[in-house]
């Protein structure tokens, strides 16, 4: 195909990605020419500007018609927009954390920190807005690589190095596994476009190899569980979360996780939606119980192991593992509400988790310790930290009048709404939630009941803003989830997710 066909694509659809890419490259250049000593604040502001403008451009795409560039190697539809919003929001908040993250040995790499954040974001966004195996894979890797580096940014901190290394090794293995699975998916269908793959899977020849397909599914799926930190590839999370700088941890636990779910939905659902499994019946239905077991195991491992943690960051790592388990539930309970439920929960999770990590950052950096005791008598020392923290914890525990509750409620609707209703899964989730009460409330107990620790706490203005924002939205979404849901229903039509649209390239061929 010639140049003008190439140019004739609606490249405007990629505006957000271009903005991020542009900012990233620009910053790398600026950073290069900036003197070592000069503060990197302007870069922070620029990054913020980039993220915000990208967010704006995404919002402007709200009622953009479904667009496909070059056989869906780039694809703009409600799904991508919906989740890109989450990613940009999350990154924006994490950015503030990063900007006010005071640790001297991160200073000389601050600039890199910012634009690595952007490249990671770019990767995530590509994962959200592509329906092509290769693009998804590259996006995934872009995200991963950037995160590896960010995790290791505190070069002089042994923990940071170690976490980065563990991350890169597990990540490498995960990538290999994912690719191995993908290679079969690709091999059997000979296509990289997900829709075409789905098409080719109808081929009678393929049906003969149902088993291989199922294996391919599981291997790919297992590989992807790495990103969302769910069983079986979840064990890296605690160590990496503990070692990485707090903003990075926040990023991993929110944006990266979101991306993980996005690629799962995209890849798994579209690819296998029409695939026949072992005995000819639908593959997705067939694998459901096994994935459910994975979800259940994830919840149990996460919650149970979190009980023993004294290190707050580790505790939150386990908590985020269990949360991944929860979010897997709507994914497998093939409920008709899947997308909004996952979206809403991720939104809620974004607010509560980043909020919590903000406070953790404040306390741990000040106390130079990650032990849970940094929360001692927080209520006395500064109620304005204790109260939001309580809100976040309650939300994470799924107590009413918080976003977390509505999210969990929705997940239950998903799990129990389907036919048949998955009582046992709901049961496991409930048990998990109960166990989680213990460690979430333990933090509260430390904040309210334990005394000692008199040091006053200073909160940087930026963090204060993030805190307020997260806390308020957590409560608002808890009281009026209609806001978010209406936004979702008003702007996104999930049917777009399933329809392949022919683009110019098809006609050229």
């Amino acid at each position: 195909m010639d140049l003008d066909t190439l140019l004739s694509f609606d490249w405007g659809a990629m505006a957000p990605e271009f903005i991020i890419l542009g900012t990233a490259t620009l910053l790398s250049v600026i950073d290069l020419f900036m003197k070592k000593e000069t503060s990197r604040k302007p870069i922070a502001w620029l990054t913020g500007a980039g993220v915000i403008s990208a967010l704006v451009s995404v919002l402007m795409q709200l009622d953009h018609k479904v667009t496909s560039i070059l056989f869906d190697t780039y694809r703009l539809d409600s799904f991508s927009v919906a989740f890109k919003i989450l990613m940009l929001l999350g990154t924006g908040l994490v950015l503030v954390l990063a900007a006010s993250y005071k640790k001297d040995d991160i200073e000389e790499n601050r600039g890199e920190f910012y634009y690595l954040l952007l490249t990671a974001l770019l990767g995530a966004m590509m994962m959200a807005s592509s329906a092509d195996l290769i693009t998804l894979f590259v996006g995934l890797e872009l995200l991963s690589l950037s995160s590896y580096i960010m995790a290791g940014l505190e070069k002089r901190d042994k923990r940071s190095n170690e976490s980065a290394f563990k991350y890169v090794v597990s990540g490498g293995i995960a990538t290999a596994i994912t690719l191995f699975g993908m290679s079969y998916v690709f091999g059997l269908t000979g296509e990289t476009n997900l829709f075409l793959i789905a098409q080719n899977m109808q081929d009678p020849e393929i049906l003969k190899h149902g088993f291989l397909l199922v294996f391919a599914f599981f291997i790919t799926f297992a590989g992807l569980t790495f990103k969302i930190a769910a069983a079986p590839l979840h064990m890296w999370a605690p160590d990496v979360y503990e070692g990485a700088p707090v903003p990075v941890t926040a990023f991993l636990s929110v944006v990266s996780k979101t991306a993980g779910f996005v690629i799962m939905l995209r890849l798994i659902i579209i690819t296998f939606i029409a695939a026949a499994g072992i005995k000819g019946d639908s593959l997705l239905l067939q694998v459901q119980p096994y994935v459910m077991v994975l979800a259940a195991v994830t919840m149990i491992i996460g919650n149970v192991t979190a009980l023993k943690q004294r290190n707050i960051k580790r505790m939150f790592a386990y908590s985020s593992i269990s949360q991944a388990g929860y979010i897997l539930v709507p994914f497998v309970s093939n409920s008709s509400l899947m997308f909004e439920l996952i979206w809403f929960y991720l939104l809620a999770y974004l607010f509560m988790n980043i909020g919590a990590f903000t406070i953790i950052q404040v306390l741990t950096t000040q106390a130079k310790s990650n032990d849970i005791s940094v929360f001692r008598s927080l209520f006395k020392r500064s109620p304005w930290l204790a109260v939001p923290m309580t809100i976040f914890l309650l939300s994470l525990a799924g107590i009413p009048v918080t976003a977390g509750f509505v999210g969990k409620f929705g997940i239950f609707m998903g799990a129990l709404g389907g036919q048949p209703a998955h009582y046992w899964l709901a049961g496991v989730m409930m048990v998990g939630t109960l166990i989680s009460y213990v460690y979430y409330f333990n933090v509260m107990a430390v904040m309210f009941f334990r005394d000692g620790e008199e040091a006053k706490i200073s909160v940087p203005p930026g963090l204060a803003v993030v805190l307020a924002f997260c806390a308020v939205s957590t409560v608002i979404l808890g009281i009026m989830p209609e806001l978010a849901l209406n936004f979702f229903y008003g702007n996104f039509d999930i049917n777009e997710f399933f329809m392949r649209i022919e683009d110019i390239a098809d006609h050229v061929h």
Binding site: L145, I149, R156, K158, A176, S183
Partner: protein, 104 residues
């Protein structure tokens, strides 16, 4: 005409994948671990290229996929090594089993 069957290639890929995996999971030296991961990725590439030729729907896509994989693998290797060096600078060791300050 008799040619090498697809299975043979897949088998080879599988074997190499397993070897790579085994290396990545058991070798002590961090460098070897990284390189074993590379081996795994290579195995995947064999799959892709083989499928490109012998699948139901043959085509170049497989080879291109393989190219992307190679590139990514290279980048990963580089970053991995860089991290390793940073770690080595602080810890004076490249033994994977000594990197367990964070546990439980």
């Amino acid at each position: 005409m008799s040619s090498v069957p697809l299975t043979a290639y897949l088998m080879l890929a599988l074997i190499l994948f397993c070897i790579g995996l085994f290396g990545a999971l058991t070798k002590r030296n961090a460098v070897i671990v990284l390189i074993s991961i590379e081996l795994m990725l290579n195995a995947v590439n064999i799959n892709l290229v083989a499928f490109a030729k012998y699948s139901l729907f043959p085509g170049l896509k497989g080879q291109i996929f393989a190219l992307f994989t190679i590139t990514v693998a290279a980048a990963e290797a580089a970053v991995g090594l860089a991290i390793l060096i940073a770690l080595y600078r602080n810890r004076q060791t490249v033994n994977v089993d000594e990197m367990d300050t964070m546990k439980r």
